[in-house]
Every structure is written in C-alpha cells, then in structure tokens.
Amino acid sequence: MAAPPDRRAASETPAAIAATMLLAALAAFAVAGLLFIPYGTDPLSAYAFLFAEAFGSLRGFGFTLVQATPLILIAQGTVLAWRAGLGYVGFEGCFVLGAAAAAWLALGGTPDGFPYALPPALFFPAVLALSFAAGAVWAGMIGVLRVRFRGNEVLTSLMANYVAAFIVQYLVSGPMRQPGSLPQTPRLPRDTWLPYLIPEARTHAGILIALVASGLVAVLLRATPTGYEIIASGINARAARYGGIPVARRQMLAILLAGGLAALAGLGAVLGVQHRLMDGLAGGAGFVGIVVALLARLDPLAVVPAAILYGGLEVGGAAMQRDTGVPSAVVFILESLVVLFILGSGLLRGWRLPLPWSGRWRATSRKAAE
C-alpha cells in the first residue's frame, strides 16, 4: 500500500508513446538545427537535403539499407539479451569475430583460409552457420561467466570486445595477411560475395538476412513458450524460477542467439561491403546497434524502422558534409539528441494536457469563468 510517490501514473498507451516519441524527435531536430546556423546553412533546407539524400532516391535508400543492415542485426541481439535480463554489450567483439570466421571460410582453398574451397551451394549455408557459431561462442563465454559464476556481464562483455578486436588485428597482421600490403586479408573470391540487390548502391543481400532474423526474433519473443520464458526470466528471475522456468538456460539461449546475430552483422560487412577482413571493421556498429534497440524500446518489430532511420541519418549526414561542408559531427550530435530526447520522453507521459475533450480542461475553464 505504500505506493511510490509518483503523482501521475505514466500513460503507456500506444498513442501516447507514439506522440511523445514524435515530439521528442522533433525537439531533437529543432535543437540540432541551431548547429547549422554558424555554417550559414538554413536548418530546414539542410534537413530537406539530408532526407532527400537518404530516402529520396532508390540509390540513396540503398545506401541507407546498407548502413541499417548491421544495426538491425545487432539491435535484435540487444533485444534478445536485454529482454532476458542481461546487460550484454559485447556486440563489437561478436561482430569482428563473425567477420573473421566468414572471411576465413571465404578464403577457402587459399593459404589464408579454410583448407578447401566450398561450392557456392554449400558455402553460403556453411558460412552463415560458422559465423553465427563464432559469435555465439564468444557471447556464450560471457553468458557462462554471468549465469554460473555471477560475473558482471557488462564489464566482461565490454572487455571481451577488446580481446576480440586484438584477435582480429593479430589475424590480419599475421596468419591471414595479404603479403606485402596493409594489415588486411586478400580480397575474397568474387563468388563468395553476397549478391547485390540494388547494384548502383551496392545494397547486398545482408538486409534480407537482417529482415529474416527480425521476423524470427519477433516470433520467438512474442509467440513461443521459449520467448515467454526468456521475457519472464528477464523481468523477474525470482518469479520465473518459482514458475519452474530454467532461468539460467533461457538466459544462455538468449545470449547465444544475440552473439550469433551480431556475428552475422560482421558477415555482412565482410561478404557484402568490404570483401576482405581488416582491422577496425565494426566501426562502433556494436554500440550504435544497442542505441537503435533502445530507440525501438526493445521491440523487435520497431527495430527495423529505427535502424533505417538511423542508417538514413548517417547516409544523409555524410552527403551533407560532402556537398555543403557542414561537418557530419553535426549529424552525430543530432543522432545522439534524438536518442536522448526519445529516452527522456517517458517523462512526458506522466503529464496531462488540458485538451478540450478532457475533464481537466472543463474543470479549469469553469474555474476561469467564475
């Protein structure tokens, strides 16, 4: 009965959430717009340019999808791990190791890779499985530390990112290095590349992997008993245990899948974009993906539009820097503000506007009339 002292229960109806998120995004755009003024650029036309670049043409939208692909996969991994109650942040590590595993298999038959070259019909299933497994094992180690030994998964997964990055650095400057060149592997054979869907934007089939993965995560979490058990474990492990749910096993499952999905993001970067393994491949996608998941409120279906919005801002920001000289840092600030404002918008749902059709408006106007 000793209720916490919140004066108004937040309104969590879908309409209220959509309205507050939209307001927050608009506010972020308005604040970030001030940053354009010193460059002599009118914010409105800058935004128009930005969105036209990102979404206005098939080519631009193709670039946006390329950017969105790893974000979708990592965000789905975040959704799984975090809904299971794990603060896992080791997606950079899974990304680069998944990329390394994919490159190794793609270089099959060469001295830098797997001993045999696989025919394409076998290669693509095999590379998906191997890359996924690499990420799953990497994340699974953190999962075991957490679930069995109560290690702090935030710290261990963060540190594991560095270890993974150094492993890849070692691979590309040692065993898998292209002789006499930068620390990177040789270019992968053409038939190991992911096919292009929109050739002029070099949009690769990774987006299909990401969309299929999104569908599977959504079904898993929303429609299966296992998903129910993962969510229950994440919200209230005590009650889940009381219900007979094997909490540790469900959390392990979630983290294995999460690591695997992040590894597939790395696979896309290697087989779809760079066509070789190199150092620094993830470029922060492992963290931006977490932000996208938060933006989507850990809802697997909301992840897709959130990632596409985010990818579009990156594409548009880069184009803006190229064409107008406004530094893309402004767009980074904008992206950050969007996230901050949207995460903060929950506060607004505790407020009520006196709208004409609500009881309070009548009460206040009556008082005013007296």
Binding site: M1, A3, G227, A232, G244
Partner: protein, 511 residues
C-alpha cells in the same frame, strides 16, 4: 467535542484515470486521539492518507491543519507541519545505525559536522519516554522487524510529529510486539499526539482506537466512537453486508501421506542455519497450519519444499518419491503448487498481463503447432476460467497483473496454483494485506481444496487464520518446528507464547 480538529480532510476528490479513488472524503482527526481508518483494499483509505501526507495532490477538496486550510504539495510540507507516516514497507537504510537513520535528512548540530552523540542522547530520551526500547548504535540490518518499526516511529517523534499515520502497522508483529506497539500508541495519545491507524483488523480497532472512520468504494461511510460499536457492526459497515468472520468447516478426513519431510536443514547466504531439522508429515485432505512470526524460517521452509532454496540436509518425499534434488519444474509437474507470501515479487510477474500470469509455470501446456507456438486462445481461456471461478475483479485479462489490487492478484495466484496442484499446496501468508471479503474468498477456496483431497501446508503469522482453517497446528520458531497438535487442543495464548519462543507449559496449564 467542539475542539478544533488537528487535521481535517474536507471533500477530498481524487481520480486515477477512470477510477474515483476518493469521492468527497471528509474526516477529522482530533488532538490526542487514536483514529482508525477501516476499509477493504481499494476503499480509498491509503489514497486519503497519502494525500494528507503530500504524496498525491487531490483533484478537489481542502486539507485543514489546526482549523486553517493548508496546501501540502509534497511530504516535506507535511513533515514541516508535523505530519509523519510509517509505511508498510519501512524506509530505512539497512547498513546504517538507528541514530543515523533517524537524523537522515536533518541538519543536526551547528556547523557542518554531524552531532551524533547529541542526536543519540535525544533519541534515547524520546525512546525511553514512550517505551520504544532501541539501541541507538545498532545497525538496522541486524534488527528484527518489530524493532525496525520502532525506529520508524522514533524517526517521526524525533521530528516532533503531532500526527502519526501508521499504515497496517501490525501485519509483521508477534502478539507480544503488538501489545508493546499499542502501549506506545497509548503513551503518544497521553502526550496529546494524534495517531491515524490504517487497518482492516477489527479487533485491533476495538483494542486501541478512540474513533473509527469506515470507508467503502472511495467514500466515507461513517465515523463512529469505538465505544459505541462492535466488531460485527464495523465489519458490516465495511463490506456493506453481513460477513461471516468464521468459516464453516467440517472435520477433516485425512487420507494417505502426501508429503513427508525428514530432518530438513538449510542455510542462508551468510551460512546461518535457517532450517534446523524440520520433520513433518502432511496428509491428503488436511490443512497443516504452521504458525510463527516471519523470519523464523517460514519462507525458507516453503521455498525448500518447492525447490527454490537448496537444502543442506534431509529429505523431502512427495508420495513415495524423493524429490529433494528435483528442480522446481519437476515438482510442479508432479502436482505441487505454491502460493508465496510475496505475491508481487515472486508469485507473479507484475509487468505481464493477467493472462500471461495465469499460465506462469504452465506455459508449455498452452501451446499449438507441436509445442512450438503459444496458444493465445488457450491462455486467454485459462485466464478467463480462473478469473470467473475465483472472482478476480479485472476489466480484462490483458491488464498488467500489477494493476490488480492485492486481493484480486492473490485470487489469480491462488486460482493458478490450485488449478494445477493436484496433490500438495504450500501456502504462505495467504491473506496478508487482504480485505475481509477477499480473506473470506481465499479461506473458502482453501477449504474447498482440502475437501477435494489436496494436502495443504499453510504457513501464516495470523493466528485467526491458523485457528480458523488448520486441522493440525505446529509452530516454527528459529528454524525448528514443534510437534503438530490437533487444532482444538491448543489455545491462542499458547500459540502466542510458542511463537515468541517460550514453552507454553511453563506459563499455566500444559496443552
């Protein structure tokens, strides 16, 4: 009496969305009285008191203090006026000492340094005056719950509160601790302070209160002098109809042994023994009542039986099968159910819907496509069945379970556990915090289950509950269980003494 009331609510209205929690609530608290607020859960008594304490702002109405209207925007305003509140869950910092907790938030002494010894001395003086025995240098974490409550009261007195609001203060106390609390309340009254007692225990009102305000459905039904009323009269006013406070029950017809526990021991995380060799035998078709004050191994016993707590020794036999090392899911599959005391933290996942909670632990039995997918239709059907059969009041089964009142949530948990527990039902504090109507429903449901042949182990700190329901009664004290006695062979007083760890034989007749 024509004296100006110390505090008064005048026409307080408070809405939460569509719910009218307080509908023109008016009541007076006179100086130097113990004023009980009686009502079922959801009657609005907590809301009214939280408005008085500044936790909520009323939509309409006024608060008067010493006859003058005042605005109370937050608890700081209330405290400044001299209003203090002891919540059901104590707001103490466990690693800190009693003195530190009491002065928390105050500026004690001149200058930047804290005058700890001065504060301790003042505290000791207040404590002595009101019979609140507390060691000012003890750390909260090591104090029993009853003493922690004294610290909460001391916190208010240290701030010289004129009006003390106590929300269900006796829920966690032994009968003896309860007497001590009442002695303190009398001493406060003698000093001219006023006490508001939010409760739904009628005999406590009769024992301590001067006046009582009965609330129902957000409205004040009546304010009465306690001297001119009776428990029966109050109960009728509270629920709006006649209630039977004693359930009609037939003698048990115990069957075969359903659950046997032999020399069960367990330790807590710090390595202290919590169960020190529990032996018990539970038969089908009986209710074995385990009386005792919480913190003597009650939760541990229940959790060990269900498999939530690893045991360090002994055996648990379900029928003839040794389940000591079996996981929770296996025990549930073999017909065990558990209604935990902590229905919001353990018994349910409050963020999930009523429907999702109705199948917690049974989610694998509500599937289609060969167990691959959840069968939403079946889940909703199960939830509706429980809601209908146990009278859970909810607008729909998609509502988050946390939004149900305590009584309705308990009925949901009970319905779920009863529905599947074919053999043994472990029940812990089943009616804690429930109003009379809900208590009656829960009791009836438990008796019906007993008569249907289930074995029920009922752990309760409420003597009324034990005396009314149990066929045999044992007392758990400091991890040891007394030999169960037939319910008609023990008196309330004997149980009270045993709950406090004393041998009833030493105090008068032997049982």
């Amino acid at each position: 009496m024509s004296a100006v009331p110390l505090a008064a609510l005048r026409g307080i209205v408070k809405r939460f969305g569509p719910v009218l929690a307080n509908d023109h609530v008016s009541l007076d608290v006179r100086p130097g009285e113990v004023h009980a607020i009686l009502g079922e859960n959801g009657a609005g008594k907590s809301t009214a008191m939280q408005i008085l304490y500044g936790l909520y702002r009323p939509d309409a109405g006024e608060i008067h203090w010493n006859g003058a209207p005042v605005a109370i925007a937050d608890p700081a305003d209330a405290i400044a006026l001299g209003i203090g509140m002891v919540h059901q869950e104590f707001l103490l910092v466990p690693p800190m000492t009693v003195t530190e907790n009491v002065v928390l938030g105050l500026r004690e002494g001149r200058g930047p340094m804290l005058d700890r010894s001065g504060a301790a001395a003042r505290l000791a003086a207040i404590a002595a005056r009101h019979g609140l025995a507390v060691d000012p240098s003890a750390r909260i974490a090591y104090l029993p719950i009853g003493v922690q409550q004294r610290v909460e009261i001391l916190k208010l007195l240290y701030r010289d509160a004129r009006l003390l609001i106590l929300d269900e203060p006796t829920a966690v106390l032994t009968p003896q601790e309860k007497d001590a609390l009442f002695a303190t309340l009398r001493s406060l009254r003698a000093e001219g302070r006023s006490v508001v007692l939010v409760t739904h225990k009628l005999h406590e009102i009769m024992a301590i209160a001067d006046r009582v305000t009965v609330m129902r459905g957000g409205r004040v039904i009546d304010t009465l002098d306690v001297a001119g009323t009776s428990e029966r009269d109050l109960a009728r006013r509270m629920v709006g109809r006649e209630v039977v406070l004693r359930v009609a029950r037939t003698p048990a017809r115990p069957g075969a042994a359903a659950l046997r526990v032999e020399a069960l021991t367990a330790r807590d995380a710090a390595g202290r023994a919590t169960l020190r060799g529990i032996d018990l035998m539970l038969h089908a078709g009986e209710i074995l009542g385990i009386a005792g004050v919480e913190g003597n191994g009650q939760s541990e016993l229940a959790e060990a039986l269900l498999g939530l707590l690893p045991v360090t020794g002994g055996r648990i036999l379900l029928g003839r099968e040794d389940i000591t090392r079996r996981p929770v899911a296996a025990r549930r599959a073999r017909g065990m159910g558990f209604i935990p005391a902590d229905r919001r933290g353990t018994g349910s996942i409050t963020a999930l819907s009523v429907a999702a909670n109705a199948v917690l632990g049974e989610q694998r039995r509500h599937t289609r496509a060969g167990g691959m997918l959840l069968d939403r239709g079946a889940i909703v059907a199960t939830a509706r069945e429980i809601v209908a059969h146990f009278g859970v009041r909810t607008p729909n089964v998609a509502l988050p379970a946390g939004k149900l009142s305590g009584g309705n949530l308990q009925k949901l948990v009970l319905g779920r556990e009863v529905r599947r527990a074919s053999r043994v039902l472990v029940v812990e504090q089943p009616t804690r915090g429930l109003d009379i109507g809900a208590v009656e429903a829960v009791w009836q449901a438990l008796l019906a289950e007993r008569d249907a042949g289930r074995a029920i182990l009922m752990i309760s700190a409420e003597l009324d509950e034990i005396m009314n329901l149990a066929d045999r009664i044992a007392v758990l004290f400091e991890g040891r269980l007394s030999t169960p006695l037939p319910a008609d062979a023990v008196t309330r007083e004997q149980l009270g003494l045993m709950m406090a760890g004393r041998d009833p034989a030493a105090h008068g007749r032997a049982a």
